[in-house]
């Protein structure tokens, strides 16, 4: 229960301003692809930095499991970064540390220049589980962050509907979570995460159990939104093609105790179309390179989530 009473010093009520600013930008989704000048992230200014982050857990038998060992990672503001690595290597743990759900046992996480202590309220975290409220329908779930910010109901619901449309859940806004498939739940959670325009997005295997077509559609939508809003995105995935197609950087983690094995910079042109980009020779080369890195690490861990 203590979670609720933690100080909210990190609460960034400035996202209210973001909302106001972005209110106008929703209308012209289609124009984003003409904008090729400003997609590049700016290195070294107010991103996320992990400094020697270690995290360990104790199994019920008292056995110590080192999940993260001395992770150093610099994520520039506005960058789209993917995390890949074997199951159980600590990808979710990294996101939890950035969200302030967990604290590193050693090292620290610097978020926009400040060390994270307590919940990092105001960032968008799409967790592996959807955590939709079962007693609210899709619309009211997506509306929740806007309701919390005191945005007028009509306007808030309008915006929620917009995002429900974007993730392809049109027609399901009055269904309750128990009436939706796994993939639909993920999409509803995605809409709820995006609807309040967080400047940082943590996404934990967001498209994990979607069919190929829907996955491509949502990748495209995510890139579109990212181009518009230029969030810093940390995207956990098992799908290497997805990682390359979306990211500026792919961080390859080794098996437990995991550390950063390699960071691959993806220098494919932006804006990208996540489908056609796959046929670029550079994409193929990166894909091969990633596989050669992953192959070895895959054998290390036999744990499945």
């Amino acid at each position: 229960m203590c979670v609720m009473w933690e100080n909210n010093s990190l609460a960034k009520r400035s996202d209210l301003n973001d909302l106001k600013k972005d209110r106008t930008s929703i209308g012209h989704v289609s124009t984003v692809f003409n904008d090729t000048s400003s997609y590049k992230y700016q290195a070294g200014s107010g991103g996320i930095r992990l400094e020697g982050v270690s995290k360990w857990f104790y199994r019920s038998q008292g056995e110590k499991v080192v999940a993260l060992s001395q992770i150093d990672l610099e994520i520039p503001k506005g960058a789209f970064v993917s995390l890949v690595g074997p199951s159980g290597c600590g990808k979710s743990t990294i996101l939890n540390c950035i969200a302030g759900f967990q604290y590193p046992d050693a090292g620290k996480v610097i978020f926009e220049g400040k060390e994270i202590r307590g919940l990092n309220v105001g960032i968008g975290y799409m967790t592996q589980k959807d955590y939709l409220l079962p007693w609210r329908d899709v619309l009211d779930n997506v509306w929740l962050p806007l309701q919390a910010r005191g945005i007028p109901t009509k306007e808030g619901k309008q915006r929620a509907l917009e995002y429900i449309k974007r993730v392809g859940l049109e027609g399901f806004e009055h269904n309750f979570p128990r009436e939706l498939s796994g993939g639909m739940l993920k999409r509803a959670a995605m809409a709820r995460t995006l609807v309040f325009h967080p400047s940082t997005l943590l996404m934990d295997e967001p498209f994990g159990n979607l069919d190929a077509q829907l996955k491509l559609q949502l990748q495209r939508e995510l890139l579109r939104i990212w181009h518009q809003e230029k969030q810093t995105v940390i995207f956990v995935t098992h799908d290497l093609e997805e990682a390359i197609a979306l990211s500026d950087m792919v961080v390859v983690l080794s098996g437990r105790p995991s550390s950063v094995k390699q960071v691959i910079h993806v220098d494919l042109p932006r804006p990208r179309d996540p489908i056609s980009i796959r046929f670029e020779p550079e994409f193929q080369r990166l894909h091969k390179e990633l596989w050669s890195l992953i192959d070895v690490t895959l054998e290390v861990d036999h744990e499945f989530h």
């Binding site: 229960m1 979670v3 759900f101 309220v121 929740l144």
Partner: protein, 268 residues
């Protein structure tokens, strides 16, 4: 063959829809209940001449006693008094239980401080508090209402407390990250999520209110069903005792079905 296969086979043979089957089952259950009651009363009645009258009485005597108390009107003030105590005690106890359960459930430190107090009071057989209530509140309605309220309180309190404690912490922090404030979280997440546990507590507390009121009446009183039973016993009027118990049983059954009706309505 498993039982579902059997049911399937049966339904194919008789070609009844599942709904018709369910209503047929319900009818059989009701017929069974009535038959059981009749057989039980018959055996009791037939055996009663051979049994000690002051211990077992007989259905006929009990019925006569009941009819008499209805006709002379002596039942109604007692029934009314007990109902009043139950209703007041239930409302006060349930309300306090929800409020205190919610506060302690969402505040670990306060809960930790008060935990021994709660356990100590909970552990006392409530009837032992009776004399104290009489000293505090006299011998009229009040001590019985308080007795019912205390018993109801604990049932509802523990249900609410555990309902609040069992809210998924991972869900809470995820929702909080969305910018939902602690106050909003209490209203929009914790309360609705504890609601089914609270309803269960409210349901379990209904018969407890009856217990509280009657126990209270048995300590000191000059009115109520508990008094009626007590008084009959002092007169060695066993039929009167059974008649009082019979009325209590009917009340318990009615209360239970009212609660079921209400929780069915909640589920829509």
């Amino acid at each position: 063959m498993s039982s579902t296969e059997l049911q399937l086979a049966a339904s194919q043979r008789t070609s009844l829809s599942p709904m018709e089957q369910a209503s047929r089952k319900m009818r059989m259950i009701w017929i069974g209940r009535v038959l059981f009651l009749i057989v039980f009363l018959l055996i009791w009645q037939v055996a009663s001449p051979y049994l000690d009258k002051t211990v077992f009485s007989s259905p006929a005597d009990i019925a006569r006693n009941l009819v008499e108390s209805v006709l002379t009107g002596s039942l109604w003030p007692n029934l009314w008094t007990t109902l009043e105590e139950i209703a007041l005690g239930y409302i006060v106890g349930a309300f306090a239980g929800i409020v205190v359960g919610f506060i302690l459930g969402s505040n670990e430190i306060v809960a930790g401080i008060l935990d021994p107090v709660m356990i100590a009071i909970y552990g006392i057989p409530k009837i032992a508090l009776g004399p104290l209530f009489v000293v505090w509140f006299g011998i009229n309605l009040m001590p019985k209402v308080v007795m019912a309220a205390v018993i109801v309180f604990f049932v509802v309190f523990y249900a609410t407390y555990h309902g609040v404690r069992e809210v998924d912490q991972d869900m809470l922090r995820t929702i909080q990250l969305l910018g939902v404030s602690p106050t909003q979280i209490r209203r929009w997440v914790i309360f609705p999520s504890a609601l089914s546990a609270i309803f269960l507590g409210l349901k379990m507390a209904v018969p407890e209110a009856l217990v509280g009121a009657v126990v209270g009446e048995m300590i000191v009183s000059n009115k109520g069903l508990g008094y009626m039973i007590q008084f009959a016993a002092t007169q060695l009027d066993t039929a009167g005792v059974y008649a009082g118990l019979f009325v209590l049983m009917i009340m318990a059954l009615l209360a239970n079905s009212a609660v079921n009706q209400a929780s069915g309505m909640k589920r829509r």
